[in-house]
């Protein structure tokens, strides 16, 4: 186990370095002078010279990459072109909101997805099954932004139950969390269903039924516990995926998170912030997957690592 953990930790390092390289290349491959991109359109010649100096833009590319890596490791991601504040400060302002949104969305996904999957699996082939699975397919086919807009239209504009946009209270969180969580709920429902069906066909379930264990106990104690293992893994992996959906959901609801910061920065050509936001999301995604992987072994004692 310990060797596995160590090895898994080591495999993350090349990926992290690769992500760093990709983010580094973003600015270098984009059309235009990197210094200009990093300093912004209206930068003075002095600022440009300063940026060139700081990022070593007059040096060969490997020196630049080394310098960039060093800066990132020191927590220096540059300065926002728009606000002139450090990128790390900007990210720290926006990231907690994204975290709240994704946590809320995950809660929504679990609360909708797992029960729907269980119901579909207990009664396969019935109308419940069909409705749940069709709902799940529609859930993954629906554009997040459209679902969000329709939710705003119905629940905010027409019914007036929730605020249209913004952040602050729990009521602000509900619509964005549902919007972001619904796709994941669909995926979880499908996963839960097939995992439950798999487990329900096992011998020990038949044994439990044969010896007279109550139906509900069989479902929840014998079957669900075993079926949930793959579901928990998928849920964990989806948590990283929610970061992606957050980019769009935040734009719909004007939710001041990292996604909105990213999109706004791309449109404003604020490259240092773009780089920082992309780096943050990717690293968060990698780390979440790593944690899920490691937890997987803890949840399911049958899994052996060699």
């Amino acid at each position: 186990m310990t060797t596995y953990v160590l090895r898994r930790l080591l495999t993350v390092i090349p990926t992290l370095l690769g992500v760093l390289l990709a983010v580094f290349l973003m600015v270098r491959l984009a059309p235009g002078d990197p210094a200009q991109l990093l300093a912004g359109e209206f930068a003075t010649p002095e600022t440009l010279a300063d940026i060139r100096q700081r990022f070593g833009l007059d040096q060969p590319w490997y020196t630049q990459l080394g310098l960039y890596t060093l800066n990132v490791l020191r927590g220096d991601l540059g300065e926002s072109v728009r606000t002139r504040k450090p990128v790390t400060y900007e990210l720290s302002q926006y990231f907690p909101n994204t975290l709240r949104l994704t946590l809320g969305a995950m809660l929504v996904a679990l609360l909708i997805g797992i029960p729907a999957g269980i119901i579909a699996a207990i009664r396969p082939g019935t109308i419940f099954d069909l409705l749940a699975m069709l709902g799940a397919l529609i859930g993954v086919s629906m554009p997040v932004f459209w679902f969000g807009l329709m939710a705003i239209l119905i629940f905010s504009v027409q019914l007036g139950w929730f605020p249209v946009a913004g952040t602050g209270t729990l009521r602000h969180l509900i619509l964005p969390a549902i919007t972001l969580g619904i796709g994941t709920a669909a995926i979880l429902a499908r996963m839960t269903r097939s995992a439950m069906l798999e487990v329900l066909s096992q011998d020990y379930i038949r044994t439990a039924r044969a010896k007279g264990v109550a139906g509900r106990v069989v479902i929840f104690k014998h079957a669900l516990r075993n079926a949930l293992i793959p579901v928990v893994t998928i849920a964990g992996l989806q948590f990283g995926g929610l970061l992606e959906g957050a980019v769009i959901t935040e734009t719909v609801f004007a939710w001041p998170g990292i996604g909105q910061l990213l999109v706004g920065s791309i449109l404003a050509r604020d490259y240092p912030v773009v780089q920082g936001a992309v780096l943050l999301i990717a690293v968060a995604f990698i780390l979440i997957n790593l944690i899920v992987d490691l937890l997987y072994g803890a949840i399911d004692p049958r899994i052996r690592y060699d």
Partner: protein, 355 residues
């Protein structure tokens, strides 16, 4: 030096493949086919289905809601009729009294399609009279939403096809070589694939667009590149499972070269998941492209791209909800069609996958 290919095909005559029967008996597959069929037809004949040009503005028609079609004419005669709906200079909606008949297969604005191969002035329907007929309403510039949706279908279809093709053309060979040969090539490509997959979902496309710049061509490239690691992973996994099977060994023992083994023996056996993934990937590509359009990172105005149309509709959600509603429905039905088909294909090609 290559041996005759006596070992490659079984002599028995194939009966109609079972997977096809399974597919055609699945109502969800049929539903998927219908949605995709409608989508492809609309895209292929967009200007015929559109009563107007997708970019034609009408300042008297801004935000006109979907028009009501009357079933009785002025003297009670049956047919389809509409009244003039227009906006006064003060912004009020004004509904005219007079009824105008809707006619099918009418001559109207001439159009050119398929890069000049198809020219006509025939339209599926139009109004006989000096009024505009907005079946699905008009947008902020008085452009007909139906016409824009139809032309947008062409854009979405092109993006989907080009993106999936890019993913296939690069991802499949990479996965094939990587799984078959292993070694350094595998190690390097897998690291690259991992890095690409570290930008979850649409984020990779966003990163690429941020680098390449916005616009439809770049969206196609970005969404296509985002599909590469998916295929590379998928194919590599299949190849690893097939590489050491007996029929591959047998072919190798008979002296087949690596490329031949890969193309004749391994790839055909790895085809099912590729086909399934391609259907699902069409849905993903169309959703991604619309997402980029919605964020303002994709198609540029006045392009009738669905995501972009939705984004414009957002600003007037309360007063003109139809502007955002219909493009969203279009995206959903198309994505649903490809997802249904992909699912049904998986069930048909690999019946063990479920239950």
């Amino acid at each position: 030096m290559t041996k005759p290919a006596a070992n490659t095909s079984t002599p028995t005559r194939r009966e109609p493949p079972r997977w096809r029967r399974r597919l055609l008996r699945n109502p969800l597959a049929i539903t998927g086919f219908v949605f995709i069929g409608v989508f492809v037809l609309v895209a292929a004949f967009a200007p015929f289905i559109s009563p107007y040009s997708p970019v034609e503005q009408n300042l008297r028609g801004t935000y006109v809601p979907p028009m009501r079609v009357e079933l009785r004419g002025p003297d009670g005669q049956p047919g389809l009729w509409v009244r003039e709906v227009s906006r006064t200079p003060l912004g009020q909606l004004e509904v005219g009294q007079e009824l105008y008949p809707i006619r099918f297969f009418v001559r109207g604005e001439p159009w050119v399609w398929w890069g000049g191969l198809l020219r006509s002035d025939l339209h599926l329907f139009g109004v006989d009279g000096p009024v505009k007929f907005y079946l699905l309403g008009a947008d902020e510039q008085g452009r007909d939403i139906l016409s824009r949706l139809a032309h947008g279908a062409w854009i979405s279809l092109s993006i989907g096809l080009i993106a999936v093709t890019i993913g296939l053309l690069v991802g499949v060979p990479v996965g094939l070589f990587s799984g078959y040969f292993g070694g350094t090539f595998d190690l390097i490509t897998q690291r690259i694939v991992e890095v690409m997959l570290s930008f979850p979902g649409i984020l990779l496309a966003i990163v690429l667009v941020a680098t390449l710049g916005t616009g439809l061509t770049n969206v196609m490239i970005a969404v296509g590149i985002a599909a590469i690691p998916v295929y590379a992973r998928l194919v590599r996994g299949s190849v690893l499972a097939l590489r050491d099977r007996e029929f591959v060994e047998a072919s190798r023992a008979l002296g087949s070269r690596d490329l031949r083994i890969m193309l004749r023996h391994i790839l055909p056996n790895a085809l099912s998941p590729i086909i399934v993934q391609s259907s699902l990937q069409m849905a993903v590509a169309i959703l991604f492209a619309a997402g980029l359009g919605f964020l303002g990172l994709g198609a540029r105005p006045p392009e009738p791209e669905w995501g972009l149309m939705l984004a414009r509709g957002r600003e007037y959600l309360a007063t003109a909800p139809h502007v955002a509603t219909f493009p969203g429905l279009a995206i959903m039905f198309v994505a649903l069609g490809f997802n249904l088909l992909g699912d049904a294909l998986r069930d048909a090609l690999d019946p063990r996958a479920l239950r």
